[in-house]
Symmetry: C2
Subunit: 169 residues, 2 copies
Amino acid sequence: MTISMYAASVPVFTQMLDSLSEVLKKAEEHATEKNIAPEILLQARLFPDMFALIRQVQIAADFAKGVAGRLAENELPAYEDNEQTFADLQTRIAKTKAFISSLDAAKFAGSEEREIILRPGTPKEKKLNGQTYLLQYGLPQFFFHVTTTYAILRHNGVVLGKKDFMGAY
Amino acid sequence: MTISMYAASVPVFTQMLDSLSEVLKKAEEHATEKNIAPEILLQARLFPDMFALIRQVQIAADFAKGVAGRLAENELPAYEDNEQTFADLQTRIAKTKAFISSLDAAKFAGSEEREIILRPGTPKEKKLNGQTYLLQYGLPQFFFHVTTTYAILRHNGVVLGKKDFMGAY
C-alpha cells in the first residue's frame, strides 16, 4: 500500500534528465538555425545574480546524483563542473543518468528512516530523515533547477512547450 | 521500508504552497516599496506565449488540489480563476491548503495502484497508475508552476533567494 524510495527518486530523476537533454538539444538546434552563438544561450540567466544556464544544468544533475547516491549509500562520483558547450552538458547528463541507473534498487530499502545530514559541520547543518530529504528537499531542489533551465531558454525565444519539460511518463 | 502516497503528496504541496505564499508576500511588499503597480508583477511573464504570474499561481494551486484530491478519491472543489490581486492569490492558496489538509490520509492507501485517467475522452487521453500520476506527472507539473512563479518575480527584480523557494522542510 506504499511506494518505494527508489520509485520516488531514480525514475523521476531519469525522466527529467531525459527531458532536460531533449530541451537542450532543441536549444542547440535553435541557436544553429538562428545564427546565435551557443554561448549566448549557455551563459543566459534571468537576473544578474542568478546562475546561468550551464550552472543550472550542473546543479540539477548534481541533485539527481547526490540525492539518489546518498539514499543508496553509494560513493558519489565527482564531476568537475567544467562544461562549456551543449555537447559537454549532454555528456554531464549522460554520466549522471548512467550513475543513477547503476544504483541497486535494494539499497534504497530503509533509506526513508536513515539520518541524512545536510551541510555537516557548518552553521547551516540540518538533520533530516531520508523521506524528508528526498520529498521535501531533494525533489524540490532538483525541479527548481530543471525548470529554471527551461525558463531561461523560453525567455530567450527557444520554441519549447510543457511537453518538452515533462518528457515521457 | 517504504513511504506512503500521502507523505509524497500533501506535505510536499503544503510546504511549497506556504513558500509560494511567502514569495508572493515579498513580491507585494517589493511593489509597494518601489512604487510599482501590483499589476505589473501580477501580469508579468517570461515570454509572450507563456502564462503570466496570476495564471502560474492558479495552475500550481490546481495541481496541488487535483492531484491530492484525486488520490484521496475526494470530490474536487471548483475555483473560479478570477483572482486579480495579491490578496486574491493568497486566498486561493489558503483555500487550496485548507482543502488538501482536510483530506483523510487513510484514503490515500492503495492509490498507488489505482488507475487515473488524464484528459478522459480526448485524443490525449492517458491512463496511469496513481504512483506514476503523482511522482512522474503531478509533482513535476506542480513544481514547474511554482518555480516559474519564482522565476518571473526574480526576473522582475524582486529580492528572493532559494531559501524563499524551499520554505520549511
